[in-house]
Symmetry: C3
Amino acid sequence: MKYGAEVNALVTQSAASIASIRFSAHYYRMIQDHRPYYIKRFLHHFERWYTDHFISPQLEELGPDHCMMKPWNVKVHGKHIRIKNSVHIVTTPDRKVSLSTWSFDEHQGHINLGDNVLLCPGVRLDSASTINVGDNCMFAAGSYVTDADWHDIYDRSRPVGKTKPITLAENVWVGDGAIVCKGVTIGKNSVIGAGSVVATDIPENSIAAGNPAKVVKQLDPERELVTRSKIFDDVQKLDKDMDEIDRMMLQPNSFIGWIRSKIAPRRGD
Amino acid sequence: MKYGAEVNALVTQSAASIASIRFSAHYYRMIQDHRPYYIKRFLHHFERWYTDHFISPQLEELGPDHCMMKPWNVKVHGKHIRIKNSVHIVTTPDRKVSLSTWSFDEHQGHINLGDNVLLCPGVRLDSASTINVGDNCMFAAGSYVTDADWHDIYDRSRPVGKTKPITLAENVWVGDGAIVCKGVTIGKNSVIGAGSVVATDIPENSIAAGNPAKVVKQLDPERELVTRSKIFDDVQKLDKDMDEIDRMMLQPNSFIGWIRSKIAPRRGD
Amino acid sequence: MKYGAEVNALVTQSAASIASIRFSAHYYRMIQDHRPYYIKRFLHHFERWYTDHFISPQLEELGPDHCMMKPWNVKVHGKHIRIKNSVHIVTTPDRKVSLSTWSFDEHQGHINLGDNVLLCPGVRLDSASTINVGDNCMFAAGSYVTDADWHDIYDRSRPVGKTKPITLAENVWVGDGAIVCKGVTIGKNSVIGAGSVVATDIPENSIAAGNPAKVVKQLDPERELVTRSKIFDDVQKLDKDMDEIDRMMLQPNSFIGWIRSKIAPRRGD
């Protein structure tokens, strides 16, 4: 079926998400990095420091091996937000990432992210009850998860309205610009196509797409699924490898050359 | 029907819209505000002054009890834009709010917003003929209303193309990221689900969702609808109450403590 | 058919796209321009210089008659990006335009834009194989074209995943916020409605809309199609005409008056 065959294409992480895969030697072919090794290293440490100093205190929990790119674009509002280990958050100045919980009357929002979660630019999670996200889930650029209506349907002056928890099991992958609505459960490994609007439960090992989203394909149960956790099997080795690749690749770069590439770029740079 | 039951969930205001509900004592549980009372008061007055000085002259009419958060992110282009009383506009630097009318040949855009309208971050209204928005309408984050094609289908070099007025009756609620197209009329009280694309008329008291949007549920005609106007029944009392709550809640805050919370935030702040 | 009749409305360029039509005398009625002639001229030349100096070297090819508004908001990543003549790129600070190609293992992205292409604010093109865009294509605000999944469906730790070239024939017009997925071919002159998600081929001379996108209408084969190329028939005359209109329209403006309109705007300005 053409539609089924093509639906994979629906799942499209933003380019920026790729930038987060700082774990591949091939990364370096992607774009020529003119920074000297020590500049890149300094910026990396500065981002870590910023995250520990400014973002982490706003969270109830943040696993130690976090990686937030431009963490000043991560906007946290409210309490009861927990992020386990090895989260990756990619941001841009024009597409910040927002995690918000709200307290009104008897309602209290909670956001719980498992290990190895990926959040791409423009992702928003808004909770007035609970959003549970399993290990290894991926959120493509501009996707939006909300467990409430934010206004009562019959009393528009009253905030929050209906709210019902959302559960994303492990390895769920939410496509570019997709919306996941209140009360939805998505089973493990399932994939939500780009631009989909999910208002009903999606079973595990499925690919769902459309507005409203429907299951359009099943994952092949015979095939093994390698999850995002594979990247983080041995974080210390990973960091050491990355550092060595950086050292090797950026070794030819000079400070002057980097500045030159910024103020007088040349074709082929 | 599961789909019908869940469709309410589609209507999801962005978190930021909630921030606009500065009219609930419960607001204060949402996020701890470390600002001293006089700092908050000053910023509030500065936003009002900015709106009166820079935004209001760009509009043909702006009701006195406006409330624009970070009004420097409100972008107004063109003439014939009227906003009645008690508008609430919420913006963020990465999701500005844009109101635009265009003049080409015989075409002239008009935007008319009724009382108590709510515009959330990223909302865009583009008119080449007329967009009429009734009292108490709410636009969730990223929603888009346009009464023209902007290029002629058969003459791509010619601007505007087909254009036909849009009418949203009172109490219409447009969900997150939804698009309302030229010539559409939406009846009073109706709700448009998140991510919907509305290209045909929607009757009153309906909930519509999907792309293309279809009516998926009716509002219960037996139940009374409380509209957004309830918030603004007595604006003077509202402002006085808000001020007293601010004074009470922010009274313990010191200037030093506020600065500390900015430069050295602590878990539990 | 109501749906067919209204579907044109789906195709909605953002207002900002209109701003790019700097080629119509009527433009000037749109918004009163208070800048003195020489200020406007200087800014125009500065944008051209910026594009030639900073953007062009990042591209393999850029036709000489380019026009990028606020080109510092154009983000180019990766190699093998070619743009032919008379491209128009409109940006805003909160909706940058992004062109990205990626190299992983055997994959190498390519983006090829024909003559007279229009890219509006927030447009993203992401390639891991090839995106071919014909002459006179138009991309409305926030539309997204991606020729890859960016993660393998069965190995989530592996970047790029499935990738298959995309071809947009000449005069294709992609609506506001629409998404075009990997492997898709769209025939010449066809129009993709706002908010559509295109995962299957669309034949020529069609209007397609919805998620998933389906053909909802045919263009009338009897009617001649005037393409965007008409605007650029004689670029030198166009530039000369534009300059003369500017000189005439902005002649009454003084530097002091311009500054006054910025710091103390008045209704009717």
